[in-house]
Symmetry: none
Subunit: 400 residues, 2 copies
């Protein structure tokens, strides 16, 4: 039993954790996306909140999405490694069993020399992706004695699940992460995974034959192999009744994994907020996840990311405040600076509002550099949950 | 051998660690108790000191007193769990042996339905508490083959020590911590403690019969079971000759546990400072502990706490500066915001003065929010000792 689990008690206070995916940024013209954005509501809230920076994993470590969100939910990603493929499989509603091997798949474009031209195949429309998925599923129902299930997540994102004897997720990715280079061969990272690596490479070969004639999505890149881990749930550890409001399947899968109720919601911010309002009396912890800021960052769209933050400030935040949670935390899961166009290691600005904060009166703005002067300091993301529970008066005293 | 122990060297430099119990606070009218207090001497010192915040245990974790002070002395409370009862027993001068089971006892008031009306029985005067203690000791000299020793610590605080075969401190508390609820039954937290739990429950029943006719202190609440742990002393770990100046028994007990010399002193601040002056040439590390600020916080007396801080600033600090220690650190063991009336998880302001500081030149005030911007950042309390030794030039270089 960990420290928090030994101290957690149930009460009626409500905690709302709002995650703007990839919120943290870097300076474009001297200011980050968040600092450049006109955010009067966030700034007003910051002046009566505690501020700090969250480090998703450790200093200098750039997280994948699932590791970053897992940390925010109180699970140290260095202890709980969850393959993205597992989360995608759960997110699209596949029934994953113990021993199944799940993997995230990018539809990608390769050139005549085999090099990756576009890792996202121009962000294939979901409708086309679904057609290609049916082709793959029909052509590759199984490999040797292993059943294969392929599903579209959205756009160029697919998920594949292998079900059969003696599978292992100790295999390397084929996705080289960069364009302009050759896809990698999947390799076993340990003796128990030799057969799994062979099976996966056979799947990649078979898929490339099926897709070979496609003009754009002519190849598959695999990364994030995973099997079901053994984690204690949020209700067990934190005595919470937690709900997740997220449109994007992976986050829904992650939420299921840690025992959250996953609420039906639409894929707009507006719809997510309505979902939270509708169910507000039923749960004592809400995770609201907004994906779009990260997409803008990954696409290098500095102004688009800034405008999304402004939209959040003007349209969404007032509705979140109307939920009247006892504890409100607004942060990101990681940084995705538009000037870099990828996830980065930079710590993420974080704002915490409750009746028990020490407001940073000298600060009138919510931004990376004001948060660096905050009372909370620089905190590992996986420690945030302890702080949220404390502000909800949900932790007993430690020690004599 | 830990990192610090491997690097520590002896020299003549003197370190003075001043602990204002429960120093950290929350905003009343926008400012904390410390920020509201008029503290020209502390502010002047802060301008030429390094500032930071101390987190007693981990983010969000509210510490008990012993865990918090243990951390300040360089012992990670997550590794060294010390039951409060053990500290009380040492503090009142009981001769505790290996295997003895010690426990803190609150004299409390329960109503006709058995619920706790006042966990502190109106803070029973020590004289009455001592009379009741004699009644308990006379009526309950032993339970089965286990000898029972009961002593008053002060006011409603008692300590009980059980001496006999096969005792274990793996038992739960009976103190429910809140008023208005039933006391808990003491339960074994593991098979070796089943008999200990039975013995303790029998003691509670016997004590309730002895006290039943009392108008106020008619019940006992037990918490903080502990046995003597195996810790390496401060002289062994830090090559220090340390002395403790504290009026309150628990802190004296804690000091003995880690190998400090406990100096005879009166129970006023003035008396404590005189004690430090009298012995200043004999030791190279002094812990000065002032309890009253915590009491004011626990009683919700915002102005009283503020006035005590002002009294410290005006009367005590000049005398402490006259000690001319090479390293002076002023902090608290934890926060006790008067607006909450209990210990809290909030980090504690800390000031460190030595010839080797980076002064916070932009800061002219000692307060929670100026400390949040300090050079030291937000440090776990158990890391403070390393910093104090460093400023005393008592640590060798690490690594080649």
């Amino acid at each position: 039993m960990d420290l928090i689990e030994g101290l957690a008690v149930k009460n009626d206070r409500k905690i709302l954790l709002v995650v703007l995916d990839g919120l943290g940024g870097l300076h474009g013209n001297g200011k980050t996306e968040l600092e450049s954005a006109c955010t009067p509501n966030l700034d007003k809230l910051a002046a009566k909140s505690e501020l700090g920076l969250l480090t998703p994993i450790e200093a200098g470590i750039t997280p994948g999405s699932s590791a970053a969100v897992l940390a925010l939910l109180g699970y140290d990603p260095l202890q709980h490694r969850v393959g993205r493929g597992l989360l995608d499989a759960l997110g699209v509603g596949l029934d994953v069993g113990v021993g199944d091997l799940c993997c995230h798949v990018n539809l990608a474009t390769t050139g005549p020399d085999g090099r990756v031209v576009d890792r996202r195949a121009g962000r294939v429309p979901t409708t086309l992706s679904e057609q290609l998925c049916i082709c793959l599923q029909t052509a590759i129902p199984q490999i040797r004695d292993v059943a294969v299930t392929v599903r579209t997540v959205c756009e160029h994102h697919l998920v594949v699940v292998f079900r059969g004897p003696d599978l292992s997720d100790l295999v390397s990715d084929s996705d080289p992460i960069s364009d302009g280079v050759m896809p990698r061969k999947v390799e076993a990272l340990g003796p128990p995974a030799v057969r799994s690596a062979q099976l996966v490479n056979e799947f990649i070969q078979a898929a490339s034959r099926v897709l070979g004639a496609e003009p754009s999505a002519n190849f598959v890149l695999l990364r994030g192999f995973g099997q079901m881990p053994d984690v204690r749930s949020m209700p067990e550890r934190f005595k919470l009744k937690p709900a997740c409001v997220a449109a994007y399947p992976m986050y829904r899968g992650l939420a299921k994994l840690v025992g959250m109720e996953v609420l039906e919601t639409g894929d707009t911010w507006e719809s997510e907020v309505q979902t939270a309002h509708k169910h507000k009396s039923e749960y004592d912890f809400f995770l609201l996840h907004f994906k779009e800021t990260d997409k803008a960052g990954e696409d290098g769209e500095l102004e688009a990311k800034q405008e999304l933050i402004e939209q959040f400030d003007e349209e969404i935040l007032p509705q979140l405040l109307a939920l009247k949670s006892d504890v409100l935390c607004i942060t990101g899961d990681h940084s995705t600076p538009a000037v870099m166009g990828v996830h980065s290691w930079h710590p993420v600005p974080m704002l915490l509002s409750s009746p028990y904060v020490r407001p940073q009166v000298l600060v009138g703005e919510f931004g990376e550099r004001t948060c660096a002067c905050g009372d909370i300091g620089n905190l590992r993301s996986c420690r945030l949950m302890g702080l949220l529970l404390a502000h909800g008066l949900k932790l007993r005293r430690f020690g004599a």
